[in-house]
């Protein structure tokens, strides 16, 4: 089993330039996903996903990167808007906000399936208590 390998590649090594470009793009996509997780986006919390299918071209990687940049900018904007509109949400940090949103998702899914949604609302009570205090 190969345990470690260091390869030095010069500009002239045409055969590996394509690999390096894709590798750089994959790293940038990974960094964007980390930032989305950091910003509290509920779809990127502790996620582990394949970035590509086998043999995906450089342009597809680029598309994926552009797409994630839009998602990140959009998410930041939405969070800012919501906080402007509901300043009490500033009491939740990004991760708590993300958990609150997840809690809502779970609650909504249970509402459609369960006759007693009140029991499921425990998922978000703790966050609401944080934001609203005891006067719920």
């Amino acid at each position: 089993m190969i345990q470690a390998m260091t390869v030095y590649v010069r500009d002239a090594a045409v055969e590996v330039i394509h690999f390096i470009e894709i590798c750089k793009l994959a790293q940038e996509i990974h960094n964007l996903r980390l930032e989305l997780e950091q910003e509290g986006h509920p779809c990127y919390q502790g996620d582990s996903s394949a970035l590509n299918e086998s043999g995906m071209s450089r342009s597809k990687f680029q598309e994926k990167k552009d797409e994630l940049q839009v998602v990140l900018a959009d998410w930041k904007e939405r969070v800012q808007e919501v906080r402007n509109e509901h300043p009490r949400l500033l009491m939740l940090d990004r991760r708590q906000l993300s958990q609150l949103i997840r809690g809502f998702f779970v609650l909504l899914s249970k509402v459609s399936n369960s006759p007693s949604p009140i029991l499921s609302s425990q998922n978000i009570i703790s966050f609401l208590l944080l934001v609203k205090g005891t006067n719920l």
Binding site: Q3, M5, V7, R10, Q27, Q38
Partner: protein, 227 residues
């Protein structure tokens, strides 16, 4: 030695033999065959001289790489098995010039005697191993060369990785964040230098962590670690 002409008086044969044995550090006559074998194994000595302190670390990696490949596995095992004897010969490089030759010879033979089997059959096997390493030294050099990585060419690996899948794992994942490349074992087209040996060496289930660094001279350093 007490030698008169071409003959030795019978009475002095026993002490002469004892003196001779002492001079050769207690080596048995059949163990002296090592000098003949070593004389023919100059490439092996040169190989260990080049490897220096890196041999042990590299041999651990190479041993794992050639697992399941009988010929390669035997060669690597032979190379590891003869190392201690060859290193004794390399120690002669470091002997100080003013040391008396008798001291050198006796000390050296004593050391080498401790490493060589006394039993004829075992000794012959050890000497055969050295001969075998000498005979296949080019193959062994390839195994131990980190640049060629046991016959897997870099373009071949890169092609597998290029067609592989990048797995991105985020910070809150139970195993922490990281990005790995799971190489494709079925490249869409084999490179021109492809040979079946590449696949024999290639582990079936592994992924690479990759770090891409902008190096000097507008090049890149790619560092890979297997998981």
């Amino acid at each position: 030695l007490i030698v008169v002409g071409n003959t030795i008086p019978l009475t002095s044969a026993a002490p002469a033999l004892q003196e001779l044995e002492g001079l050769f550090g207690g080596l048995k006559s059949w163990q002296l065959e090592i000098f003949h074998v070593i004389h023919e194994a100059h490439d092996v000595i040169e190989f260990f001289r080049e490897q220096h302190y890196e041999f042990d670390e590299r041999s651990r990696m190479v041993t794992q790489e050639v697992q399941g490949y009988r010929f390669g596995s035997e060669l690597v095992n032979y190379t590891i098995a003869v190392k201690d004897v060859i290193v004794q010969f390399l120690s002669l490089d470091r002997i100080e010039a003013e040391t008396h030759w008798q001291v050198i010879l006796t000390t050296f033979c004593k050391n080498i005697g401790q490493l060589l089997p006394v039993e004829r059959k075992e000794l012959d096997f050890k000497l055969k191993m050295i001969e075998n390493v000498q005979l296949n030294i080019q193959e062994i050099r390839t195994y131990f060369s980190l640049r060629s990585s046991s016959g897997i060419s870099i373009p071949f690996i890169l092609q597998l990785m290029e067609q592989g899948v990048y797995q991105s794992q985020l910070q809150l994942h139970p195993n922490g964040q990281g990005m790995k490349n799971q190489p494709s074992l079925f490249p869409s087209f084999p490179p021109s230098h492809f040979n079946i040996q590449n696949l024999l060496f290639f582990p079936k289930n592994f992924g690479f962590r990759i770090v891409l660094e902008q190096g000097a001279h507008k090049g890149y350093l790619l560092r890979f670690w297997s998981r």
